[in-house]
Symmetry: D2
Subunit: 352 residues, 4 copies
Amino acid sequence: MGDVGRVPVGIIGASGYGGVQLVRLLIDHPGVELVYLGGESSAGKAFGELYPHLNHRVDLIIEPIDLDQIAARCQVVFLSLPNGLACQMAPALLEKGCKVLDLSADYRFSNLETYENWYGKTRSDQAIAETAVYGLPELYRDRIAEAQLVGCPGCYPTASLLALSPLLKQGLIVPETAVIDAKSGTSGGGRQAKTNLLLAEADNSFAAYGVARHRHTPEIEQVCSDLAGHEVLVQFTPHLIPMVRGILSTVYATLRDPGLVREDLLTIYMAFYRSSPWVKILPSGVYPQTKWATGTNLCYIGVEVDPRTDRIIVMSAIDNLMKGQAGQAIQCLNLMMGWNETLGLPQLSFYP
Amino acid sequence: MGDVGRVPVGIIGASGYGGVQLVRLLIDHPGVELVYLGGESSAGKAFGELYPHLNHRVDLIIEPIDLDQIAARCQVVFLSLPNGLACQMAPALLEKGCKVLDLSADYRFSNLETYENWYGKTRSDQAIAETAVYGLPELYRDRIAEAQLVGCPGCYPTASLLALSPLLKQGLIVPETAVIDAKSGTSGGGRQAKTNLLLAEADNSFAAYGVARHRHTPEIEQVCSDLAGHEVLVQFTPHLIPMVRGILSTVYATLRDPGLVREDLLTIYMAFYRSSPWVKILPSGVYPQTKWATGTNLCYIGVEVDPRTDRIIVMSAIDNLMKGQAGQAIQCLNLMMGWNETLGLPQLSFYP
Amino acid sequence: MGDVGRVPVGIIGASGYGGVQLVRLLIDHPGVELVYLGGESSAGKAFGELYPHLNHRVDLIIEPIDLDQIAARCQVVFLSLPNGLACQMAPALLEKGCKVLDLSADYRFSNLETYENWYGKTRSDQAIAETAVYGLPELYRDRIAEAQLVGCPGCYPTASLLALSPLLKQGLIVPETAVIDAKSGTSGGGRQAKTNLLLAEADNSFAAYGVARHRHTPEIEQVCSDLAGHEVLVQFTPHLIPMVRGILSTVYATLRDPGLVREDLLTIYMAFYRSSPWVKILPSGVYPQTKWATGTNLCYIGVEVDPRTDRIIVMSAIDNLMKGQAGQAIQCLNLMMGWNETLGLPQLSFYP
Amino acid sequence: MGDVGRVPVGIIGASGYGGVQLVRLLIDHPGVELVYLGGESSAGKAFGELYPHLNHRVDLIIEPIDLDQIAARCQVVFLSLPNGLACQMAPALLEKGCKVLDLSADYRFSNLETYENWYGKTRSDQAIAETAVYGLPELYRDRIAEAQLVGCPGCYPTASLLALSPLLKQGLIVPETAVIDAKSGTSGGGRQAKTNLLLAEADNSFAAYGVARHRHTPEIEQVCSDLAGHEVLVQFTPHLIPMVRGILSTVYATLRDPGLVREDLLTIYMAFYRSSPWVKILPSGVYPQTKWATGTNLCYIGVEVDPRTDRIIVMSAIDNLMKGQAGQAIQCLNLMMGWNETLGLPQLSFYP
């Protein structure tokens, strides 16, 4: 029934991009044994049939979703499902003693009203939602370690919040001046066949979408408000880059103290992330390339100050499917199990 | 010696991307005859050897640069050279009666001090520079029509200024809140073999560059200040998109009057560009794709208002080598010759 | 009811990639007036809503498909539909006097048995199918000029046959040694949302498909056999390139006469295509880039001989949506109407 | 001086793509300690300055090339240099007792005349060259294990030979019918700034190059001849794919025995590669995607038979910088040191 001492884990929703990342990472993770893959439409298929390149290492069959069975076999369950499904499964799994990491938006909000407004679904599980911890380890490391239920952050919020947090926490900027211009590779749209994500449509083109109304906005604002100690609204605009993986978030804000120079801010950022192995502050004058983060759980941050305008410009780069999704979920798992935060996660992007 | 009634034109610097666009457009332009191509390093070569796909239509040889000869043969000369060279050639050509369109930065600034500060070159031709007209027809149509010397705008300034102009002209925004987050395909870097522009480096990656110090900043500010009637500083950040052509400029600014809604602003934009055939204001809720502009001289503009933050977000898309460079130069030529502004310029992008 | 003297034309199936190419080309074609766009799922929508970048030039509404109406309004009808539909519509349109150009596979085969075997559909219109002319003007120019019904070639067959025809016609190769290794951009898959055509799947990957069983095989063989004067089987393998447009066909065959050198063959190719304005034979040692053909109706051909193996290697490059689809259909239209073959078709790719 | 028991290794030519792959892989390799990086033009620079994304793990400075010093500090030396340099350094290193793995073409040929003919350089080290083993472990595993000098294969030969070897070894095909149509991402061209490898040039285009004269031809032929037991000439054509990494080789050959079906051949391939952990034979009807191999040392092989033409079509996919270069060199190192062939090499591509 598995390696002695390894934690048995399962994934519900294994066939999408979140799922395939989790599978790839978990089969090489020294602390866990992957014992269950679940899905609806793909139930009965060998995972290696869906992803032939993993066939030589994964011999699991995708099974139907039976929560009793799953809880009996798994100590930890990852939910990688469309929004609105996790909140129908997590309560039962938690009750049976599983630890649950949800990659959807269902458990990201402490106030379910925000979720209901932005996601257009009603919820009646406020009590459970309140026990969920927002899975951004760089801010909530200790609470994640204690959590039974973690709501893993969205990809854009991860990149944006890692860029903004030191500024808000230290009160260095005028919060309402924050403009987040974010850009993502198209894998963020998932493995669904949408016309606008076809290579023939998306390649060699670039555009914004969801301007002034993207659902990651309230998620960013929730954490910003938490850090600032008062309600903060941000301007958030996502764009689609004609490439597969990666998010670059370019964040603008007006400094409260115009005397601060780049080196001051780099020092502040390095101090803030001193205990965060997955955040790398780049040397003065170096700006992050998304490619540097590809395939890793890293977030690279570069900082610039414009003395002409008294603005700070912070750029953060992540792999949207790693630190922005599956990698971060495993980072949270590591914390929940009391393991080293870096266990089983890639640190080195190949290049080019 | 050529078609009767066609204006003889020449291009100095024909081998780069600016040059090859000009050649392609001018050989099909009904008003001109392309009689001269000049270059230093490629002198003596057939143009069709450099660009075999144009060989069946262009039989010109690239000639050495002899200004006397050029002036004798050409009524109009395009200069498509690195910064700092046009200002050494334009005076002689102008004196001999040629009309000159410069695609470099040399004649974009009314105050040469700005040029000297940002481009690190000294200039002693303030008198001639003052006669140059900034070649953005949507703003300076009448002056271009009268000009003998036109300094064609940079690619980023073109996209950014077309997005910002109606707002500044009408006093609708707080100018110092303007943030311009711009993204360009890599052809903007020209046909020089730079390591960072290799496909192996640039593909599937995304990054900012020149943050808070890109040379297009003062060019944008010069026109913004002109429109606003007082000095305006902007925040301008360029990024490199892993694709060949296209610029998307996402412009943020705080509205003076929070009561304005999207439809109000679309009306204002449509009125502002009523006589501008190359600017298309998109319907409410539609945002521009750079691909729509590819290969054409068009600029597509989409407008959004965020009632939560009282900001306007304007997105403008152009082809950086067309409206952002060679196409706009020909649009200026059309005005200088008294022709219809659209003559000889493509209006329909292919898709996909 | 339209420009005097312009031929009224319609398109059934206007919303896909074939349709949008036809629309773009026909609205600028000096000989025709585009009066009708038809579709099922998109009926009632403005064409400019589907393709906002064409909105400023096309104000047609997509209409339901009513063959009587269409025939009453159109002299020429393009059918741009999935396989199996054209053969249900063409007979009625022909009977009412329309000229019909079909972009599907329905009218490409003189022997419907071949169609039935490879396409898995039964057909009962052999009589009409026999009146159809295969729309490859470089081979069947005269017959197309007389045709009322043209079956436009597939994209791969177009590239492959233009590469092979001079060799087969002159008996220069051993036909059964012909290997056609073809590569296409993903727009060849159409505007349908298929998972494997997503940018996230197809970008930065390359693979073959349909090996030894692609439906374009019998189409290539039909023409090869016609040229050779006896039945010819070819090896045809298509691949998907991570890019939007373009086909490169690399064709290998053993020369009957090992004494032939590259220059001999270039002479033969140039003679064969002397009257074909859309085929360009490249100079000795130059091989075609698909980019040179992008957006044009051109086919670029490069020829190499390997004296070590006595093989000829011919490379042909086309834009799969132009010479490989909509452009070629319009080239056929030009012939059918007695116009110049090049009328209304782009000759110059932009570059880069 | 390093971890007890780890083998000290160095890299001469660390700054190119081969070098950066080696660095990334070797710093995580459990059997070695990377103690030296050498280069000419980049000497004195921190490696982490060239590749900022590796800065957090690599603190080595690139040093000048002093062979005495290198030999004193390193037990194994990788040479990742342009052709013609390794043969000037390897002899001294070998004499001082180092094991040497050369990634250039210098030691790939047992007969230096072939090298001299195809590479245009004269050589006088035939004696040493004869001691070199061709570093394709799937064919020469035992000899590599005994070698002091390994000439690592080119990227195209690796993919092509793994596809062809079982056929030639078993005498299943007519050797002179072999056509190898190979396609590579542009990283194969290295990190040199060549115009044709710019993203603006290479993206969205596809072309062949080096037709009938590419230098990898004699390398492929040398091994094919070795396997067949007599001289074999092959037709080899490389193409450039608009993507970063990956080679797909499509190999055609006529079967001697037309009765063989796909399943027979799959069985033969699986038997041939039974002891080769890095070659994966795909299930019947599945063809390799280069993306499946990206970042790994794997070679995926798919086999098809065309009963109409009696040809076999074999497709092999590798990552040109891994199995095609640095990964394979480390696989050879593992064999030379008596370690498991898979030690320290990635087995799982991320996807997408």
